[in-house]
Symmetry: C2
């Protein structure tokens, strides 16, 4: 018997699921993974497993949590290293995580996450997506220069809630390859190499072909 | 000398500012209020006072925090009553706060906050705004039935981060008067009567006529 379940969508596509799965794994919660292949919107399969028909969704010892940011906060109560130790750094990490949570819609629309395509480089460079990317690079540079020290992540040695929120953005950058600074590219490589991010990619690569969705596979 | 500043926009209109100002007041942070009248977008006045040109923005003892949700979390580190005491309730409070933070765009567009108009009742009832309102009423009803007890707020006696996030929604409901359940109306009255919400309304009423914006004042 586990302590509950984490409900997620197709790993190849579901950026929000990745943001809910990573903190659960980092905090070591003992929950069963329930993967419901994405099929667009709140399907009956999803509604049967979650209260709002949305992924990610966590149930743990009677607590029911949706919204990736709330799942990160929940997990951080069990593993405090999910946020930076110093108050000022923690404050900035939460600010950028919240900014990601509610923003960057142009980027998300122009460059939907697709972990399985090697031929999307150069696509999606709309004016507003490039503005989003410029803001993201500014956030990364500021966090790393102020708080990153010699560590590979935004706030140093530990992979925090801010890195979790940006992990699917890194995945997009690796797929669509917009022009990025050297510092941003280093950060992307570090996130991609994190063992849990790598595990997510590997599990995505093993998903069956029936789960492919035309709307994400016909960009080129 | 205060410990910093909270930068906000016009109280009559700025729903996000209200979400940043309330937790600062509830936690009793000693910061100076800097009000920059809204004029649409990131004006030079705003850019001079904040890093991202957005309100609300908090500086406190060297920490710099934007995004209302991150400001709530920051303030909750000084005043733990900003979140419910019990883990399950706290998890749900954070989930609904995050859902508000990133969602309900149709409602926000159709019923922009305007604390000074008594003649907007009945406006803004677009199909998608009504869907948002139905979801909000479901959240309120679920929180109050599971965790509200006899208290007036979503999670009981204390005005938490979830109530903060919904306070400007209550303000919209009082102005536009969509049809609501009795339970929702009770909750709206309780939020409106909170001393800090009332203080915000009073200060909004004292703002000068030059700060009025045509786009929010010509709905009727």
């Amino acid at each position: 018997m586990s302590d509950g379940k984490i409900v997620i969508g197709t790993k190849r596509y579901s950026s929000w699921s990745m943001r809910g799965w990573l903190p659960v794994k980092l905090a070591g919660l003992d929950v069963t993974e329930v993967l419901i292949p994405l099929a667009g919107g709140a399907t009956s399969a999803l509604k049967g497993q979650t209260p709002a028909g949305l992924v990610p969704y966590l149930e743990h010892n009677g607590a029911r949590i949706w919204e990736s940011l709330a799942i990160i906060e929940y997990c951080a109560e069990f593993d405090a290293t999910l946020w930076p130790k110093k108050r000022r750094a923690r404050a900035m990490a939460r600010a950028v995580a919240a900014e990601m949570h509610a923003g960057f819609r142009a980027l998300r629309q122009a460059m939907p996450m697709n972990l399985g395509r090697g031929d999307y480089a150069g696509l999606g460079r709309t004016e507003f997506a490039l503005e989003d990317i410029a803001r993201i690079e500014a956030i990364w540079a500021e966090a790393k220069s102020e708080y990153g020290g010699d560590g590979p992540y935004l706030f140093g040695e530990r992979f925090t809630g801010a890195d979790i929120m940006f992990a699917p953005v890194v995945a997009r950058f690796l797929t669509y390859q917009p022009e990025l600074s050297e510092g941003s590219l280093d950060y992307c490589r570090a996130v991609r190499a994190h063992p849990l991010v790598d595990a997510w990619y590997q599990e995505a690569a093993e998903e069956p072909a029936e789960w492919l969705l035309e709307k994400y596979e016909n960009l080129r």
